[in-house]
């Protein structure tokens, strides 16, 4: 297992909603827990992954995500079991959309 932490400062979008979880911790999949948190305008992401050694790819996927949504005062916690970057991106978007009440 490997734990990765990211923090993005000065977000724009607040998600004042109860916490949500999307996805399942199963092979090639992940769960994303998204919560509002007083983080001085930042978005913090903590990843616990079974696939060790993919830090640079996680960083790129997280940067893209934060660029899309510009989240502020948001804590995201991930339990990953070897999801591909595309699946990770989709789950993160699903998590935000669920918070916004936009999930299909």
């Amino acid at each position: 297992m490997e734990t990765l932490n990211y923090r993005f400062e000065q977000g724009q979008r607040r998600l004042a909603q109860p916490p949500q979880v999307v996805g399942v911790v199963s092979s090639g999949n992940l769960e994303v827990l998204i919560e509002e948190a007083a983080l001085n305008g930042a978005c913090e992401i903590k990843i616990s992954t079974a696939a060790v050694g993919f830090g640079p790819i996680w960083q790129a996927v997280m940067q893209d995500f934060q660029q899309r949504w510009q989240l502020a005062d948001t804590r995201i916690s991930i339990n990953d079991m070897g999801a591909t970057p595309a699946v990770v991106s989709l789950r993160l978007d699903q998590a935000v959309q669920t918070m916004l009440g936009e999930a299909p």
């Binding site: 297992m1 916490p19 979880v21 399942v24 769960e31 827990l33 339990n79 990953d80 079991m81």
Partner: protein
């Protein structure tokens, strides 16, 4: 018009959302509480924020019920220490709060082997709590329709309930196919023979054998309606006893003895169905649910 949503293809939280009255599910110990397994981390294995089970209360056709849904995607729905404790706590709280019924959405391979004794103890505590719930006059309904089925300890837990509702795709047994093959050889049971696996452990055979009381098609709405019907049937004045009784146990024992006597020597469920009096037993797996129920009506056990 709403279209059918597959129970099999849905995950635990989707089932909870669609099975109960819209927006009524209120979770106890939600993922944000982060009550996770204390064992998996030590083994360097991934954890889930809900330890693979969501528990809480909801409304079912207006009735206040308590419910749990196991997530088959996380370690096959296997029961670890925390997972089991959540189920036990839910059942005890259902008794304390006098819920109308408990609906368990079971999907589990049994005990989580990573947690060994803690998991085994947890399962035994779930059984005791379930029987205590029945003893308090609160019916327990189990739904089995996930791809991981209900096996091992959770197979036993399921059979402790008042009513088991299955789909054809659901499976219910003690030992799983691979376990039987490993222990007794491929001549005894070929776990790669999918048709054999389903006609031995699948919903239709369980319905014919009297191990499940209701069978529905693979549709969340059908499971919902079956759960409502089962609760209504158990709460009307002339209903059979909700608590386990000696009489019911003796009836069950007699039914099992009859099963062994009539079918014990037969090698394949096809032979069992023929001996039972099902017309064209080889067609049973192909039947839609309504004609299957009609064909099974006069021959199935425990009816």
């Amino acid at each position: 018009m709403s279209h059918a949503v597959s129970y099999l293809e849905s995950n635990a939280r989707e089932r909870l959302r669609l099975l109960f009255d819209a927006g009524s599910f209120e979770e106890f110990l939600p993922p944000a509480a982060r009550v996770i397994s204390p064992h998996l981390g030590q083994l360097n294995a991934p954890v889930a924020f809900d330890d693979g089970v969501a528990v809480g209360r909801a409304r079912l056709n207006g009735m206040p019920v308590y419910t749990a849904a196991q997530e088959g995607g996380f370690m096959g729905g296997a029961v670890g220490e925390v997972h089991g404790a959540k189920l036990v706590g839910l059942l005890r709280r259902a008794v304390r709060d006098q819920a109308k019924a408990v609906v368990l959405l079971v999907e589990s391979g049994g005990v989580r082997l990573h947690e060994a004794n803690a998991g085994l103890i947890a399962v035994s505590e779930v059984m005791r709590a379930l029987l205590d719930t029945r003893a308090a006059g609160i019916p327990v309904i189990v739904l089995v329709g996930g791809s991981n089925g209900a096996f091992g300890g959770m197979g036993i837990v399921s059979r402790c309930a008042n009513v088991v509702v299955m789909s054809e795709e659901g499976r219910l047994a003690m030992s799983g196919p691979e376990v039987i093959e490993t222990a007794n050889g491929v001549e005894e049971f070929d776990s790669r023979d999918r048709a054999l696996v389903w006609r031995t452990t699948g919903g239709k055979h369980r319905y014919l054998m009297g191990d499940c009381q209701r069978i529905v098609k693979d549709d969340v709405a059908a499971f919902r309606q079956a759960a409502i019907d089962a609760i209504n049937a158990l709460t009307r004045p002339s209903a059979p006893s909700v608590p386990l009784t000696l009489e019911a146990l003796e009836q069950e024992q007699a039914m099992l003895a009859e099963r062994i006597a009539r079918f014990g020597a037969l090698p394949d469920p096809l032979d069992v169905w023929a001996a039972q009096g099902m017309a064209q037993p080889q067609r049973v797996p192909m039947l839609e649910i309504e004609p299957f129920i009609a064909a099974a009506q006069t021959v199935r056990m425990g009816a």
